[in-house]
């Protein structure tokens, strides 16, 4: 069994590296700032990172299939404002409006999926179009004015607590467990890795590639919609400008966590760590009174390191294979 273990560790190097970075930063911040370790602050970090992390789990699936979904920020905003409008202007009950917001995300994801599988567009282009279309729709329906005036129940999803646990964190835990399960124990997950690793091999093995790819984009849309509803609920309004550039944080979380943009690799736990690392950097910069502009720079540098590490690992691996074919 030791070989199997070694393989498992080897396949989780990126995640271990991300975990190491989180631990180091965590220890550093608890010494550097007195406010850091308070329950309040920690829950705050969790709630802040929850939206990014939830959407990033969908993104991880897309990236595993060697795709990308650039539209998540716009789709989240569209779900948020339309969900809020359902409540404010049409008197829809809050739980139903949340479902409605998520459904909007699903539709956007479906369109992305069909553009990729049926129209044969590159995922980058299909979702870049959706990024623009969804954002445009947000401004059209809101006239670029925030949708506010929802009843207090609307804030439950984003601000409520179960005991002392903020509901966004709870939602994240549920989504993460479900995401991990789907990726490791269902056909959908298995086929996602297979398609990302070699789409033609997957097709010739009898996998209905188009159907499964479409489902993956729908899931990304659903989670973007869900994240958008949580965000709207946190500020008790549908904000037309929410989520501009959010896709970058989301992709960063997945990539830092070991998802490979070449497809075939990625794990939910890694993405969670990636999102956590980003949230810690944000929180730490605030606590230590570092100019917020530096946050962007630091996060960018970490993405470089993560991707460089990924490529280095690949190259080292492929060179080793070329020359060590003989060793079984």
């Amino acid at each position: 069994m030791s070989d199997a273990w070694r393989d498992r560790v080897r396949s989780a190097v990126s995640q271990l590296a991300a975990a190491g970075a989180v631990v180091v930063l965590f220890i550093y911040l608890s010494f550097a700032s007195g406010a850091f370790l308070s329950a309040n602050n920690l829950f705050n970090i969790g709630a802040q990172s929850a939206v990014v992390a939830i959407i990033a789990i969908g993104m991880t699936m897309v990236i595993i299939t060697a795709g990308i979904d650039l539209s998540v920020g716009s789709v989240a905003a569209l779900s948020g404002v339309l969900g809020a409008m359902m409540v404010v202007e049409y008197g829809v009950r809050v739980p139903l409006a949340i479902v409605g917001g998520v459904a909007i995300g699903a539709i956007a994801g479906l369109v992305n999926g069909l553009l990729v599988t049926q129209a044969g567009m590159a995922p980058f282009i299909a979702t870049l179009g959706m990024l623009s279309v969804a954002r445009g729709l947000v401004y059209i329906v809101t006239d670029s004015v925030a949708v506010s005036g929802a009843p207090p129940e609307f804030t439950l999803l984003g601000q409520g607590k179960l005991g002392s646990l903020p509901i966004p964190i709870l939602a994240l835990v549920v989504v993460a467990l479900a995401g991990h399960f789907v990726l490791t124990r269902t056909k959908l997950g298995r086929y996602s890795y297979a398609m990302g690793s070699n789409v033609e091999a997957a097709r010739l093995s009898g996998i209905p590639v188009k159907r499964y790819l479409t489902i993956v984009y729908i899931i990304s849309g659903i989670l973007a919609g869900f994240g958008g509803m949580i965000a709207a609920s946190r500020v008790n309004s549908g904000q037309p400008n929410f989520g501009i550039g959010l896709e970058l944080d989301v992709i960063a979380a997945a990539v830092i966590g070991g998802a490979s943009l070449f497809g075939g690799e990625g794990k939910v736990i890694g993405t969670l760590l990636g999102a956590l690392l980003i949230a810690l950097i944000r929180n730490g910069s605030v606590l230590l009174d570092i100019n917020t502009f530096y946050q962007q720079v630091i996060i960018g540098v970490i993405i470089w390191i993560a991707v460089f590490w990924d490529q280095y690992r690949r190259r080292a691996a492929s060179e080793l294979i070329q020359t060590s074919r003989k060793t079984p």
Binding site: D3, D7, A194, A201, R203, L204, S205, I321, T323, R325
Partner: protein, 502 residues
């Protein structure tokens, strides 16, 4: 004694965990074809990288023209030393023209502006040396593979060439194209240029070489003049042991018709299939022969459902099956092992067990049964002799032969009754080849129907009960085993003579 143009003395190269090239000494004489033979992983490619200065040796000396050379990279090797390399995967920029490729990195300029006319003139001169008449203004991507290779050889002749290294140059060529290539090589020889030629194909080695150096496990086993070369001897040197029979075909009772494909037609990008009918019986090994582009792979893909035929029907055990996708072909009991394992046969990053179950994931209540998956993979590993300590390691770390077995396991796991093997021996070692053909024979003796597609006739002539020859998308004829001969197959494949046994 002639002064060697190139010499290696005790050269070594180490990669993390492996000694890829181990104290290799080698001399190359002007105007000779020096073949370097050896199995995959024997160190041939690394050796060539050291010669062309793509990699830096850890130890040892390389001499050109009797003088030790320093290491300054591939550009230095080509332009100053005159040692250049023709890569197996052609290293041309497809979006540039022939002339632009030939002068890449060394463009002619006038007052700092690129001079297209001067480049064209140089390109034409280089192309003439490789007997290629194409317009140097054409885009490389529009040329057929054989012409691209010729362009690459021409590129290697830039400057003052003394040694040209060719890495398996015939891998992608048809018989006629190989003949043309050999003429070019003969001409280069006549100009005193030495050729270092890497090859797998034993028949080529004997025809072409002046001397042969055999590598095994990074070491030189032997260097021998071509007069002493025989295929048997080469195999023994390469593998380190004798292999009595490369094609162990078992005696099998041939049963009822398993697969019948009738009137398959399909217009395709490379070739149009026209009205092809194929029958495969239980226990029978059928070969698809034909020139490259005759439609062998296309026909297999159309029957399997990888490409949907325009017309025709497929019957399995006499019952018609509707095949509109690979999924339906697989469910009906067909399996297709692609020619290009890495390109479209395997998910390389995924572990062995997941590749084995890819076409048939074991589920329990809709959830993947990981324990069963592991057990399935382990059982195939033992039955097929896949050499790996664990089935959780990525498929990409396996050797070609073992990767091929993983694909076989995948299809056996789907209970395939008829298996198409497209170039099953391509890119795997001599030893692994014999093992692969042994396995194919075993699968047939268990009552499956087997189709082998191969460009290498000895494989078909030895393994098959029947050979179907395709020509330009049509079935040109069928030969039963008693009728087998290389000439008959080639007659049908080329349509050269009339007296064919249709």
């Amino acid at each position: 004694m002639v002064e060697p143009v190139l010499e290696m003395r005790e050269v070594s190269k180490r990669y993390p965990g492996v000694l890829a090239v181990d104290r290799v000494s080698l001399t190359v004489l002007p105007g000779e074809v020096h073949v370097v033979a050896g199995e995959n992983g024997a160190g041939k490619s690394t050796l060539m990288k050291l010669l062309s200065q793509v990699e830096r040796p850890d130890d040892g000396v390389v001499l050109v023209g009797g003088k030790p050379v320093e290491f300054r990279g591939p550009r230095f090797a080509q332009q100053v030393l005159g040692v250049s390399m023709v890569h197996q995967e052609l290293a041309l920029a497809p979006h540039l023209t022939v002339a632009e490729n030939l002068c890449l990195g060394d463009e002619s300029t006038r007052l700092g502006v690129l001079s297209r006319r001067a480049d064209r003139r140089r390109a034409n001169a280089l192309l003439a040396r490789v007997n290629l008449t194409v317009d140097p203004g054409r885009l490389v991507s529009t040329l057929p593979v054989a012409d691209r290779q010729r362009v690459e050889i021409a590129k290697a002749l830039n400057g003052t060439p003394r040694v040209v290294i060719m890495d398996e140059p015939t891998a992608m060529l048809t018989e006629t194209e190989i003949g043309d290539l050999f003429e070019v090589i003969a001409e280069l020889k006549a100009h005193g240029i030495a050729i270092v030629y890497i090859s797998h194909r034993l028949d080529e080695v004997a025809n072409l070489a002046d001397r042969v150096t055999v590598l095994r496990d990074g070491r030189v086993v032997h260097t021998l003049p071509s007069a002493e070369v025989s295929p048997q001897r080469l195999v023994r040197l390469m593998v380190g042991r004798g292999i009595d029979n490369l094609y162990p075909k078992p005696r099998v009772e041939i049963g009822d018709v398993l697969l019948r494909a009738e009137g398959i037609s399909r217009s395709g990008r490379v070739v149009d299939l026209v009205d092809c009918t194929v029958t495969v019986r239980a226990g029978e090994i059928v070969g698809f022969a034909g020139l490259v582009g005759a439609g062998r792979t296309e026909l297999a893909r159309a029957i399997f459902g990888a490409d949907i035929p325009d017309a025709g029907r497929v019957l399995l055990r006499g019952r018609e099956i509707r095949i509109r996708s690979p999924r339906q072909g697989i469910e009906a009991g067909l399996g297709y092992l692609t020619e290009d394992r890495k390109g479209d046969g395997l998910a390389l990053q995924l572990p062995i067990d997941q590749n084995v179950t890819l076409a048939n994931v074991p589920l329990r209540f809709g959830i993947i049964d990981l324990r069963k998956e592991r057990k399935t993979a382990l059982s195939w590993r033992d039955q097929l002799g896949i050499k790996t300590p664990s089935v959780t390691r990525p498929v990409r770390v396996l050797s070609g032969g073992n990767q091929q077995k993983v694909v076989v396991a995948k299809w056996l796991e789907t209970k395939s009754q008829v298996l198409f093997f497209d170039e099953p021996a391509r890119g795997i070692d001599v030893g692994a080849k014999a093992e692969m053909f042994d396995l194919i024979g075993r699968l047939a003796s268990e009552g499956r129907g087997i189709v082998i597609i191969s460009s290498y006739l000895p494989e078909l002539l030895n393994m098959c009960d029947r050979i179907i020859v395709l020509r330009a998308g049509r079935i040109a004829g069928e030969l039963a085993r008693e009728q087998f001969s290389e000439e008959r197959v080639m007659q049908l494949a080329t349509g050269s003579t009339t007296g064919s046994a249709v």
